[in-house]
Amino acid sequence: MKNYQLGEFEEIVILTVCILNTEAYSVAIKDEIESRLTRTVSMGALHTALKRLEDKGYLKSFSGESTEDRAGRPRRYFEITALGKKAMRHSKETRDELWKAIPNVILDAKLNKLVLAYSLV
C-alpha cells in the first residue's frame, strides 16, 4: 500500500485548491482559507506548503495571465492531480475508519457529562 503523507495544513490547502477549482492561485487560496477557517495564513507558510505539495506530485501548476495590480507578475494557478485526489481520499478514509473505531461510550460519556452539567444549572 502506498504511503500518502499529508500534513494538517497541507490537507487544508489541497482541499481549498479543489474548492476554488480553476481559480486556485496563492492569494485566492489564502483568502479562501482565511474566510472559511477564520485563521490567518502567512504567505511564507502557504508557499512552502504549495511547493511541498507540488514536489510530492499532488498538485500541478501553470502560469496564468499577468495583471496590472500585480506589477506585471504572472499568477500561478494550481490544479489537483490524480495522485492528489487519491491522497485526499486516502486521508479521508483513514480518518473515517478511525472515527468508526472509537467506542461509543466515549462520545456518549461526553454527552452525559453535558447533560449532567445542564441539569446542575
Binding site: 496563492s26 502567512s42 504567505m43 511564507g44 502560469s63 500585480r70 507578475r73
Partner: protein, 871 residues
C-alpha cells in the same frame, strides 16, 4: 503616482528567493500590498509587507547556495593543489619571502603570546582568588603632609580585622626571609623561606602530599616543605616528623607537611613555609613595626567595597592621639601581579608591558600580511592568464576566489606548523633571555589550538582576500587579449601598504632606540655612588659587633680589599620609614624621611660624595653601644634633600647641629643627593645613622683579582663564621635587578623590532623585484637610448623613496607622542632629541634604498637585449 512598497525589503526578497518562485511570489506580495493600501494606511501596509517577507525567509523558498554545476571535487582539488604547488615553485622568490615571513612572524607572535599568557595566568589556580585582598598601608605623621604607602603591615592587622569586621573570614600574615638551614651539617642560605599563619591553608590553594593541613602550621617551630625541597633534604624518605635545624642558632623545626610545589605562575613562592609564630613577633601591640604582608580572605567577592568603607573610620578612631595616621586600603589579589604599583613576592610586571608586547606581535603580523598582499597582487599579472582560461572553461567567481584564499590558507597553515616546531626549539633560549619558565604545554589546549586555527584562517583571509578579489574579478576576454595591467587601485593599495610597513618599522626603530637609550641612561647614570666592585655579603642581624670588627680587620689584611662597612641597606635601595625633627621645631612637628643604619666607613665603601663633614668613625659607632642608654650617643649623616627639609641654608650650616631621629644626635656630615630608590621616583630625604647592627656587609675591592679576592674572603669567612654560609652578590647586579622588567622589555623590543624591520625589508625586496621586472622593457629602452646607470637607479628608486618619506612623516609624530608618554614614567630620563628621529629616519631610508638598489642594479647592469627580445 503609484505607491511603492519599501524597496529594501523587496531587494532582500529578490536576493534570497529562489528564481523559479520569485516572480509569482513577488506578484502575490504586490497584489496583497495594493489591497492593503486601499483598506488602510501606508505605514501599516509597509509593515505587513516587511513581515510577509520575513516570514517568507524559510527553506524551500530561499535559493540554494550552490548553483554552480557540480564537479568531481577530488579531481578539482587535486588539480588546484598541483597548480598551487607549481605556482609556488615558479615564483620562488615570492614563495620564500612569504613562507619565511609568515614563519618568522607567527613564531614571534607565538612566543609573545606564550609570554603574555604566562603573565596573565598568574594565580589563576588559586580557588579563592576572587575574594582575597592584599592590605596596603599608608602612614604619615601629624604636622607633615608626606604620606608613604606600601604593602607593609604590622602583625596587628590580621587578628584585629578578622575579629572586628564580619566581612573578613581569615587573615593571613606572611613574610619572606633568608634563613640558614643545615643540610648534612652544612649551613645553606635558603632564600625562598616564608613564614605564614596557619590560616594560609584556608585562604590559598595547596595540595598536601604528607601531613595534615589544618594543624601543620599550628604552634611555633613548625615547617611545611614543598615536594622538591623535601626531596633535596630527605631524598625519597618521608619527611614528616623529621627535624630541620633552622636559623642562626639552629633552632629545631618539626617538619609537619609536604605539599606539591606551587606552579611557576604563583605570586607567592616558597621552598619552606614555616609557622608565623616561630618568628616570636609581638602579636597585637602596635600598627607600627610594619614588616609583614597581610592578606585577608573575605567572605565573598563583593565585600571589598563595604569593608573598605569601614576601614578609614575604624583606623581614625584607633590612631586617635597617637600623633600619626595610618590608613589601610584593600587591593584585590588578582590585581597584584599585573596592576599593582607595589611588588609582590616574586616581582610583578606592569600590564602596559604586556600591551606593548601584544602590540608588537600584532604589528609584526600586520607587516607579514601586508607583504603577502603586496607580493600576490604584484604577481597577479602572471596569473591573469590562468584566471582567464579558467573562466572561459566555466569557472565562476566564487570558485576562483576560494581557490586563491585556499592557496593562502595552505601557506599559512604550513607556516603555523613550522612555526610551532620552531617556537618549541627556540623556547629554551627565549626562557634564558627572559629568565622565565615558560612552558609550551600550557598552550596546547583545545582553546589555544582552535585560536591558532582561527588566527591562520584570519591571516589567510586578510592576506589572501584582496588578491583573490582582484583576480576573480578579471574579465576573461580582456585578459586573454593580453591587455591586463595592474589596476590603479591595486597600485595605490600596494603603495599604501608599503608606506604602512615602513611606518611600522620606523616606529619600532624609534621606540626600541628610545627604550634602549633610557635603559643605558639608567645603567650608566651617575647615581652619586660607585656600584662597581662592591661585594655584598649577608652577615645576618645576630652577628655581634666584636665578631664584625674581627672580620673587617681580617679582610683588610688583603691588599685587594679597600673598605668594608656593615649596614642594613646598600645604597641601591633604601626603603625604611622614619621621622626626623630639629629640637627647635614645634612639639609634634616631624618630617618623614628614609633612614639607614650603618657603621664606620660607609661613605668610603660606597663612594658617596661628602659635601661637608666626615664619614663615621669606629669611635662614633662604639658610642651607640654604651652599656647604659644614658650615655648612648648617635651621629647622623644626612643628604642634601634632608638638609633642605630641615631648613639648613648650606651643608656646612648643618654640621655639628643637633637632630632627632629616634633619639637626639649630632649631624656630622652632609652628602650629595643620590638615587637610593628607583629612578621612577624623585630623591627624598635620607639619614644615615650610626649603628652596630645590620645584616649586610659591603666590601669595596680592587677589580684586579676578583676570583682571588673572593676566595680569600671565603676562607676568612669559613674560619670566623663557620655557622653561616658564604653568600655574596655584587652591588651592580642588585642594581640591575631593580630594573629587570625594563631590561626585559628592552631585550624583547630589540629582538622583535629587529624581526619586524627584517620582515618589512623582505616585503620591500619582493615588491621591488616585481615592480622592476614589470619595467624591464622601459629600462632596456632607456638604456639603449643612452641613460646612465645612475640615472636609471634614480628613476627606479625615486618612487620608493617617496613612499619611505611618507612613512617617516606618518610614524615620527606617533612615535614621539607615545614615547614621551612612556618616558614620563621616569623622573630621571633622557630628552627626546631631534637627531634621534633623524637618525632613525635616515636609517630606514638607507635600508629601503639598499633593498631596492639590489634589484635596480641587476636590472641596470643586465644587457638591454635580454629585456627587449622577450616578445
Amino acid at each position: 503616482m503609484k505607491v511603492k512598497p519599501p524597496l529594501f525589503a523587496l531587494r532582500f526578497f529578490q536576493w534570497y528567493c529562489t528564481p523559479e518562485l520569485a516572480d509569482y511570489i513577488e506578484g502575490d506580495l504586490m497584489e496583497v500590498y495594493e489591497r492593503r493600501l486601499k483598506n488602510g494606511r501606508k505605514v501599516k501596509a509597509d509593515l505587513l509587507f516587511i513581515i510577509d517577507i520575513v516570514f517568507l525567509f524559510r527553506p524551500g523558498i530561499i535559493r540554494s547556495m550552490d548553483q554552480s554545476p557540480k564537479f568531481y571535487h577530488s579531481v578539482m582539488l587535486k588539480n588546484n593543489l598541483k597548480l598551487a604547488v607549481r605556482n609556488l615553485w615558479k615564483n620562488k622568490v615570492a614563495t620564500i619571502i612569504n613562507v619565511f615571513g609568515l614563519t618568522v612572524g607567527i613564531t614571534s607572535a607565538l612566543l609573545i603570546t606564550l609570554f603574555i599568557y604566562h603573565e596573565m595566568s598568574f594565580d589563576a589556580f588559586q580557588p579563592n582568588k576572587e575574594r582575597i585582598a592584599r592590605v596596603i598601608m599608608e602612614y604619615g605623621f601629624e604636622g607633615s603632609t608626606d604620606k608613604v604607602k606600601g604593602t607593609f603591615t604590622s602583625t596587628k592587622v590580621a587578628p584585629v580585622f578578622s575579629r572586628t569586621f564580619p566581612e573578613v573570614e581569615k587573615g593571613v600574615r606572611m613574610t619572606d626571609a633568608d634563613m640558614i638551614v643545615k643540610l648534612n651539617n652544612e649551613p645553606v642560605l635558603e632564600s625562598n623561606f616564608m613564614f605564614a599563619d596557619s590560616s594560609f591553608f584556608q585562604a590559598f590553594a595547596f595540595d598536601m602530599l604528607e601531613g595534615n593541613p589544618t594543624t601543620a602550621l599550628n604552634g611555633p617551630d613548625k615547617v611545611v616543605l614543598t615536594a622538591s625541597t623535601a626531596f633535596r633534604y630527605f631524598g625519597k624518605e618521608p619527611a614528616v616528623g623529621k627535624t630541620l635545624l633552622i636559623g642562626n642558632n639552629g633552632t629545631p623545626y618539626e617538619v609537619t607537611g609536604v605539599m606539591r610545589d606551587y606552579p611557576t605562575t604563583s605570586q607567592i613562592k616558597f621552598d619552606f613555609l614555616a609557622s608565623f609564630s616561630s618568628l616570636k613577633a609581638n602579636q597585637e601591640e602596635t600598627y607600627f613595626n610594619a614588616n609583614y604582608t597581610t592578606y585577608l580572605l573575605l567572605n565573598n567577592q563583593h565585600a571589598f567595597g563595604p569593608l573598605q568603607e569601614k576601614l578609614h573610620p575604624f583606623m581614625e578612631n584607633e590612631m586617635k592621639g597617637s600623633g600619626a595616621s595610618i590608613l589601610f586600603y584593600l587591593e584585590p589579589f588578582t590585581d597584584v601581579h599585573l596592576r599593582s604599583p607595589y611588588a609582590d613576592f616574586t616581582g610583578s610586571i606592569s600590564i602596559t608591558y604586556l600591551y606593548t608586547l601584544g602590540g608588537v606581535a600584532l604589528l609584526i603580523m600586520v607587516i607579514v600580511c601586508f607583504t603577502y598582499i603586496n607580493l600576490s597582487t604584484a604577481k597577479s599579472i602572471d596569473r591573469a592568464r590562468e584566471v582567464g582560461i579558467r573562466k572561459v572553461s566555466g569557472a565562476v567567481r566564487s570558485q576562483l576566489f576560494w581557490q586563491f584564499i585556499g592557496e593562502a590558507f595552505v601557506l599559512s597553515i604550513l607556516a603555523v606548523i613550522v612555526s610551532m616546531g620552531l617556537a618549541i626549539l627556540l623556547l629554551p633560549t627565549f626562557n634564558e633571555l627572559l629568565n622565565k619558565e615558560l612552558d609550551f604545554a600550557n598552550l596546547f589546549t583545545p582553546t589555544f589550538l582552535l585560536g591558532i586555527f582561527i588566527a591562520s584562517l584570519l591571516v589567510s583571509l586578510i592576506a589572501g582576500g584582496y588578491p583573490a578579489i582582484i583576480l576573480s574579478r578579471l574579465q576573461p576576454a580582456r585578459v586573454l587579449k593580453g591587455v591586463f595591467k595592474n589596476t590603479p587601485s591595486a597600485k595605490i593599495l600596494q603603495q599604501s601598504l608599503t608606506v604602512f610597513q615602513f611606518a611600522i618599522s620606523l616606529f619600532l626603530i624609534i621606540a626600541t632606540g628610545i627604550i634602549q637609550g633610557q635603559l643605558n641612561f639608567i645603567q650608566n647614570q651617575k647615581l652619586g655612588y660607585d656600584r662597581e666592585h662592591v661585594v655584598m655579603l649577608s652577615v645576618g642581624w645576630n652577628l655581634s659587633h666584636q665578631q664584625m670588627i674581627t672580620l673587617k680587620n681580617e679582610l683588610k689584611t688583603n691588599p685587594n680589599i679597600l673598605h668594608a662597612s656593615r649596614c642594613s641597606s646598600s645604597p641601591v635601595n633604601i626603603y625604611s620609614g622614619y621621622s626626623m625633627r630639629l629640637p627647635s621645631m614645634a612639639e609634634n612637628e616631624v618630617i618623614s624621611t628614609n633612614a639607614n643604619p650603618v657603621d664606620a666607613g660607609y661613605i668610603k665603601t660606597t663612594g658617596l660624595q661628602l659635601l661637608a663633614g666626615a664619614d663615621f668613625t669606629d669611635e662614633q659607632v662604639d658610642r651607640t653601644r654604651a652599656m647604659n642608654s644614658e650615655e648612648d650617643k648617635f651621629y647622623y649623616i644626612i643628604n642634601e634633600s634632608a638638609a633642605k627639609a630641615l631648613g639648613f641654608t648650606s651643608p656646612e650650616d648643618a654640621i655639628g647641629r643637633e637632630m632627632e631621629l629616634n633619639s637626639v644626635g649630632t649631624i656630622v656630615g652632609v652628602i650629595k643627593d643620590f638615587n637610593f630608590q628607583s629612578l621612577r621616583t624623585s630623591i627624598q630625604p635620607l639619614v644615615l645613622f650610626t649603628a652596630s647592627w645590620g645584616n649586610r656587609l659591603l666590601v669595596k675591592v680592587k677589580g684586579d683579582d676578583m676570583e682571588g679576592t673572593l676566595a680569600f674572603m671565603q676562607t676568612k669567612w669559613k674560619q670566623l663564621l663557620p655557622h653561616r654560609p658564604f653568600d655574596y652578590s655584587f652591588l651592580d647586579q642588585e642594581y640591575e635587578k631593580m630594573y629587570r622588567s625594563e631590561v626585559q622589555l628592552g631585550q624583547m623590543m630589540n629582538l622583535f623590532a629587529g624581526i619586524a624591520i627584517v620582515l618589512a625589508c623582505l616585503g620591500l625586496f619582493g615588491l621591488s623585484s616585481f615592480m622592476i621586472q614589470q619595467r624591464n622593457k622601459e629600462i632596456s629602452i632607456r638604456k639603449v637610448l643612452g641613460a646612465s646607470a645612475f640615472n636609471l637607479l634614480g628613476i627606479l628608486s625615486g618612487n620608493f623613496i617617496r613612499l619611505v618619506l611618507l612613512a617617516i612623516v606618518i610614524a615620527t609624530p606617533v612615535a614621539y607622542f607615545l614615547m614621551r608618554e612612556w618616558l614620563d614614567g621616569f623622573v630621571y630620563k633622557i630628552n627626546l632629541e631631534v637627531w634621534f628621529f633623524i637618525v632613525a629616519g635616515v636609517a630606514t631610508l638607507l635600508i629601503a634604498l639598499f633593498t631596492v638598489g639590489i634589484h635596480g642594479l641587476k636590472a641596470v647592469v643586465d644587457n638591454p637585449i635580454k629585456g627587449l627580445r622577450s616578445e
